[in-house]
């Protein structure tokens, strides 16, 4: 198999090729770097490429394979696999920009983020940092400082956000694996619009140490991939408690509960419902078609309502607006003009919210979580569209959903925000054919700590050909 053909495969196939010495880690990483160089002017997914670091690390892997440590090196599950991370993950030697202009003045990170370390310990090779909405406040990755991330399946359209570079890099075949963050939908929205798999784990599952926060009460980290086995593998490799010392206080520090062994278990015994009401009223025809196709493949015919969903979404909006703004208040006071113009006024308004609204929002969030937990006594899986529609044109201000004219930038997450508000695990699966040319994602949602179930269902959909993530023809 040629190196170009291998680059179209998933991370597991790439690692197997390096493990068998069919290809060297240096050749694989070089191919990824070449693909980035050939396509990034059009896609704008990468904002930093760490070429020297990546080639040095790949050379170390190759040397180790031919040393007396070769047998142990060969067992690393992501051996030689190139990956990239949203620019809010610390990369040693680079300032952590989080998509901003302001953080260009920050000192370089002294070490890598915890999840970067965990993937590299499994043999993966970091190749760079990815475009995003400034400070993760957005759903479109139309970053005014470095330009918009372009959707690899239609370069005139958005990649989604805020982890738009992560979705675009994987869809463009620049890397088979990327990391992003999700506070209100920032993994699931770009996964949906770019046609790749994305996992938002349970709130508190993966440690956020070494990542730039947006809203500590709601921030999650997770992977993007072009196959479910890669998504599960990366997720499994990133699980587990942190070593004593500097730790993420929002992390539950649970022991790893591996999802990969569950992938082949099929659908037997799973009770699956389709979310109606709020979720269908805010979806355009292609989103409804995609959900219906997934539901049919899974044999799910029952429509269920998520209790308190509008209040839950409202709570997430308020907590995000207030907590995100408070984090940046010193800079908002002195240099508001340096913020992203598309989110600056939202940040400024968030700084002014009355404390009583936020305290109440956190109480409503708890009540909402308790009511949804009761729903999960009757269902193992819930389905909903990940975005109201397929990717919109870059620069579009408005879209129409069910006759209602809504602003694109805050509304693209209308279907994801109520789910992350209460920390449920979700796999966004990419569906083709619901829209004439573009993919759109469906959320596979489960009760807290049941990532194994959402990945198991995603694997079944992938096996049935209902969900797939091809590399874009660029």
């Amino acid at each position: 198999m040629s190196i170009a053909a291998l680059l179209q495969k998933d991370a597991s196939a790439m690692a197997a090729a390096v493990q068998s010495k069919a290809v060297s880690a240096v050749a694989l990483v070089q191919a990824s770097l070449d693909r980035i160089e050939a396509t990034n002017a059009r896609v704008n997914a990468f904002t930093d490429v760490v070429r020297e670091r990546a080639l040095r690390r790949a050379a170390q892997i190759d040397a180790s394979l031919f040393s007396d440590r070769g047998a142990r090196t060969r067992e690393l599950p992501l051996l030689g696999v190139p990956f990239a991370v949203k620019s809010l993950f610390d990369i040693a030697g680079l300032p952590t920009l989080a998509g901003s202009k302001i953080e260009r003045e920050s000192p370089p990170a002294r070490s890598d983020a915890e999840l970067v370390r965990r993937l590299e310990n499994a043999g993966a090779v970091l190749v760079g940092a990815l475009n995003m909405d400034e400070y993760a406040y957005g759903f479109t990755t139309e970053n005014s400082h470095v330009g918009a991330a372009h959707n690899p399946h239609d370069l005139s359209r958005i990649a989604g956000g805020s982890s738009g570079g992560s979705g675009a890099a994987v869809a463009a075949g620049q890397v088979p694996l990327a990391l992003g963050s999700d506070t209100n939908g920032s993994i699931r929205v770009p996964a949906s619009l770019c046609g790749v798999f994305g996992l938002k784990p349970t709130f508190g599952r993966l440690p956020r140490t070494g990542s730039y926060p947006f809203v500590s009460s709601l921030d999650h980290l997770g992977p993007f991939a072009r196959s479910v086995r890669d998504l599960a593998l990366a997720y499994d490799l990133m699980q587990g408690p942190e070593a004593p010392g500097l730790r993420d206080n929002g992390c539950a520090q649970r022991e790893a509960e591996l999802a990969t062994p569950a992938l082949s278990r099929g659908l037997q015994g799973l009770r699956i419902g389709v979310l109606g009401g709020y979720f269908r009223e805010r979806a355009q025809p292609e989103a409804l078609t995609a959900v219906d196709a997934v539901a049919q493949a899974l044999g799910a015919s029952q429509t269920v309502e998520l209790p308190m969903v509008e209040a839950g979404r409202a709570a997430a909006f308020l907590i995000t607006n207030s907590e995100g703004a408070a984090l940046h208040l010193p800079d908002l006071r002195t240099r508001a003009h340096d913020f992203e113009p598309l989110s600056r006024d939202r940040f400024l308004a968030g700084a002014l919210l009355p404390a009583a609204w936020i305290a109440r929002a956190q109480r409503v969030r708890r009540l909402y979580a308790e009511q949804v937990a009761r729903l999960f006594e009757r269902y193992d899986v819930l389905l909903a569209a990940a975005t109201p529609c397929a990717a919109t044109p870059i620069g579009a201000e408005w879209f129409e959903i069910n006759g209602q004219r809504l602003p694109v930038r805050p509304s693209m997450g209308v279907l994801t925000q109520p789910i992350s508000c209460i920390g449920l695990p979700v796999c966004a699966v990419p569906v083709w054919g619901a829209h004439p040319d573009l993919p759109i994602g469906v959320q596979v949602i489960a009760a807290p700590w049941r990532e194994d179930i959402v990945l198991r269902v995603a694997a079944a959909l992938e096996s049935a050909g209902v969900a797939q993530a091809p590399v874009a023809a660029l």
């Binding site: 009460s217 206080n249 308190m308 509008e310 209040a311 979404r313 409202a314 709570a315 909006f317 308020l318 607006n321 208040l329 908002l332 006071r333 508001a336 003009h337 600056r344 006024d345 939202r346 400024l348 308004a349 968030g350 700084a351 002014l352 919210l353 009355p354 609204w357 305290a359 109440r360 929002a361 956190q362 109480r363 409503v364 969030r365 708890r366 009540l367 979580a369 805050p410």
Partner: protein, 68 residues
């Protein structure tokens, strides 16, 4: 809140916080504060009792053990 109340509130609280709003930022800030007020109304409409606790929990910090 009426449109006038929104503007009064934004002006008063931004001054109290030392947040000087530029003339070209102020209309957007008022608009987004108005959006937040709409979401706040949804949250206010949920009946809550005194025992409905917030979703945020605090974990006390244990001091590191002294070295021998």
């Amino acid at each position: 809140m009426t449109p006038e109340q929104l503007v009064s509130y934004v002006d008063a609280t931004s001054a109290a916080l030392g947040l000087r709003l530029r003339a070209d930022h102020r209309p957007g800030v008022v608009r987004f504060f108005g959006l937040a007020a709409e979401f706040a109304a949804l949250v206010e409409a949920v009946p809550l009792g005194p025992h409905d606790e917030p979703a945020v929990n605090f974990t006390p910090v244990t001091p590191r053990e002294k070295e021998a």
